[in-house]
């Protein structure tokens, strides 16, 4: 099948001479190497959920050690850490936080939100039959799969798993600090993961530009599409910078080049901080890559479940674009204590602080959307509200870290950990749950259980705020990151009870996810069948069956209105319902 022209033909309105192609027959082409964006989206979702569970389990082990340093891990300790009698050894601990961070960012959140929902939803939301390059899409999944295989292999190497932190700073990550093949495998896995992301970005960017249905102007796209599209632009531009850093690190490790090996009296060398530049030029846009889809989804869901349009849609889009632009020029705030010149420090401080302005505008948009609405507290809505709340808390703490003076004290403490877990993980994670509960009917043709979903939400939100909010307090009190046993320091011993509270909240958070797992699998099999439009909203994916047919749309729709035409009295009078589907002419 030709990668390009299949989609072109698909986009023609149906006529007898060119009927929409039938799905492929063989198991391999239909299930394994499918080029159907819906199948690929589900593949990414499964991969991401599995690794989310793995990274979450690693987090539980980290929290155990911080709450009870030196105590053997109950039940699984003997299995996982046989050499140290079930206790998390210092070397094991460094591997735990390394792999927790690596997997969460690259192998859980990216595949779920961008690979999973991006793939499944994007063509449907813009009225297309598939992505611009279906074969490339399939390759991007299998590249991600290859990356996960390599990362999994790195767990089982003779000298132990990668342990230089998810940031992998040299010289700890070079042969100096990390002999052994695991770190090299880590670099390869990251490189392949990046390649998969860039392939996806090429597809998403092209698809939005070229395959919007007639009438779907940029300002009629759902905010979800904006979030995914802008994230893809950042992906295309900045993941390659990480790739460059990874390439140089790989060369240092394997071929003995000296980019990041410090010079000495006997052998000239390079600069370890060079890596930090390359890493954070990627790393800061990366956090926006992760949250942009979540922001988009939140904007749409808040409108849908308040039954009124998104407040200030164009201003919101402007704010998202402003953040995208700014995200490229603020990376130095991760490096304030590397001996940066005051001029650079002040520059990065001011630029970073500026991001608070479009962020506040996003918040005004969200609040304005729910205000005076007719709010329905469905599970997706609850998660969207939770996302907004948690991001608000996390976002404000970013101001502390943007400020050089405060950051000199707070850098590399648990304040940073609390900040990024609140913003990035909790908000993105809550966003992922919102997306799953919202699009589950469309993806799998069944409804998830509402009461169980609401309970899952309540437990997750409370434990997220307690766990990561208290980490802000721990950091404020000066506790550094990545400590196997904080009680080694006298000034941290009084904080051990607080560490235990954080761990207890984290354990409850972990346990609460069982509710989600049960709900997910039960509903897959026995959930009530989903109608085409269970949430009664107007975006294009809800105009087709649940799940959609192979070719998505029998006829490419024509779009007449924006995605948030809810609560319009004229519509209510003419159609009897309070929403206007995008593909139908509005009342005069």
């Amino acid at each position: 099948m030709d990668a390009c022209t299949v989609s072109e033909e698909h986009q023609r309105p149906t006529d007898p001479a060119h009927p929409a192609p039938e799905p492929p027959a063989s198991f391999w082409r239909q299930v394994v190497f499918s080029t159907d964006h819906k199948v690929i989206g589900r593949q990414f979702l499964w991969l991401g959920l599995v690794f989310l569970a793995v990274a979450g389990t690693l987090a539980m082990l980290i929290r155990w050690q911080l709450a009870h340093p030196g105590a053997p891990v109950p039940l699984v300790g003997g299995l996982l850490f046989p050499a140290s009698g079930g206790v998390v050894s210092p070397a094991a601990y460094t591997a735990l936080f390394t792999m927790h961070g690596t997997i969460m960012i690259f192998f859980a959140l990216t595949p779920i939100l961008i690979g999973g929902f991006g793939n499944f939803c994007l063509p449907l939301l813009i009225g297309a039959r598939d992505m611009a390059f279906p074969v490339l899409n399939m390759l991007s999944f299998w590249t991600m799969f290859a990356a996960t295989a390599i990362l999994t292999a790195s767990f089982f190497t003779p000298l132990g798993p990668p342990a230089a932190g998810w940031t992998s700073y040299p010289t700890l990550s070079t042969a100096v600090g990390a002999p052994g093949v695991a770190q090299t495998l880590w670099v390869l896995a990251i490189y392949l993961n990046g390649a998969s992301s860039v392939m996806g970005a090429v597809n998403y960017i092209t698809t939005v530009i070229r395959f919007r249905a007639p009438g779907m102007t940029f300002f009629r796209m759902p905010l979800t599409v904006w979030g995914l599209w802008l994230a893809s632009i950042l992906n295309a531009l900045f993941v390659p910078v990480l790739a460059a850093g990874a390439v140089l690190l790989f060369f240092d490790r394997v071929f003995g080049t000296r980019f990041f090996i410090a010079g000495s009296a006997i052998k000239p060398g390079g600069d370890p901080v060079l890596y930090q530049h390359l890493f954070w030029i990627f790393g800061h846009p990366e956090v926006y890559i992760l949250i942009l889809p979540a922001w988009g989804i939140a904007g749409d869901l808040l409108s849908f479940f308040s039954r009124k349009p998104a407040y200030g849609y164009k201003v919101t889009v402007g704010a998202l674009i402003a953040i995208v632009v700014l995200s490229g020029v603020v990376y130095g705030h991760h490096m304030f204590v590397t001996g940066m010149s005051p001029l650079l420090g002040e520059g990065f401080m001011v630029l970073t602080m500026l991001i608070s302005v479009p962020s506040v505008i996003l918040g005004v948009g969200w609040l304005g959307t729910v205000w005076r609405g007719s709010i329905r507290l469905t599970t997706p809505m609850l998660f969207a509200l939770g996302l907004v709340t948690v991001f608000g808390l996390g976002g404000f703490t970013g101001l502390f870290l943007a400020d050089v003076l405060a950051d000199v004290y707070l850098h590399d403490t648990f304040f940073v950990v609390g900040h990024f877990h609140l913003t990035m993980s909790a908000a993105v994670l809550l966003g992922a749950f919102a997306a799953i509960y919202f699009w589950f009917p469309k993806m799998f043709g069944r409804m998830m259980n509402e009461p169980l979903g609401k309970l899952h939400f309540a437990l997750t939100l409370v434990t997220v705020i307690v766990t990561f909010g208290l980490q802000l307090v721990l950091g404020y009190a000066g506790m550094q990151r990545r400590l196997v046993d904080p009680s080694a320091y006298a000034f941290l011993r009084p904080l051990m009870p607080l560490n235990r509270v954080v761990s207890q909240a984290a354990f409850v958070m972990g346990a609460a996810q069982v509710l989600f797992v049960v709900n997910f699998f039960y509903s897959l099999r026995w959930g009530p069948r989903a109608p085409a439009n269970p949430w009664q909203v107007g975006t294009l994916e809800w105009t087709v069956s649940s799940p959609p047919p192979h070719h998505n749309f029998a006829e490419i729709p024509r779009v007449f209105v924006g995605p948030h035409e809810l609560g319009n009295p004229a519509v209510k009078a003419a159609r009897g319902v309070d929403f206007q589907p995008q593909d139908q002419e509005p009342p005069a």
Binding site: I209, F211, G215, A243, P268, G269, N568, A570, V571
Partner: protein
């Protein structure tokens, strides 16, 4: 009340491929290739930025304590000539492809010629690295050596991919679809352009 301008604006947005056809397919491939090339270019830009940073930070170049690198002008100039020749051949192939859906006789010839120059380029690059090794300059000899080895090798990998893509086009049973041919040509030109920049920034400067 929804304004009439909403209905007025329900025209087909520019670039929509709902008309189908060759031109639309080509436009889609053009957009995709532009993004892909931008991404690949960013990798090389980052590598060159890294080179720029270490070079600016070093008091001398090569840095103190490192032996100067043999310039290997013959090999480097030969590589540059081959790269430019390859791009020229690909340009001919692209022109042939653009004139119609069926490839004319000159397209496979031009592709073949480009491929050969590409292979020759790779051979020259390998030879230049071996010459460095013979002169006692290895990847771990220092920062300047690291830059030369890393950039040569990483660029060479992309040149290899370009050669393989051309081979795939040549070996395809059907004549190359214009979109695909143009995509490979664009990638080839990027590889050449990167070499010219590397040549200027690393070997001449």
């Amino acid at each position: 009340m929804i304004g009439s301008d909403t209905i007025r604006r329900a025209a087909i947005p520019p670039g929509s491929p709902s008309g189908g056809g060759e031109a639309a397919a080509r436009a889609t491939v053009t957009v995709g290739m532009t993004v892909a090339l931008a991404a690949i270019a960013m990798t090389f830009a980052a590598l060159l930025l890294a080179y720029g940073i270490v070079r600016v930070q070093a008091p001398t170049w090569p840095p103190p304590g490192e032996l100067p690198l043999p310039p290997l002008w013959t090999l480097r100039l030969l590589a540059t000539v081959l790269a430019v020749a390859g791009s020229a051949a690909m340009h001919v192939a692209a022109r042939a492809g653009r004139t119609g859906t069926a490839a004319t006789a000159s397209a496979p010839l031009a592709l073949g010629a480009a491929m050969l120059t590409g292979v020759a380029f790779l051979a020259v690059q390998v030879a230049s690295l071996r010459a460095l090794g013979a002169a006692g300059v290895h990847p771990d000899s220092g920062l300047a050596a690291s830059v030369v080895y890393a950039l040569t090798a990483f660029h060479g990998l992309h040149a290899l991919v370009a050669v393989m893509l051309s081979l795939a086009l040549l070996m395809a049973r059907r004549p190359a679809r214009p979109g695909r041919l143009l995509a490979v040509v664009a990638f080839w030109h990027l590889v050449t352009a990167v070499w010219l920049i590397v040549f200027g920034a690393v070997f001449v400067a």
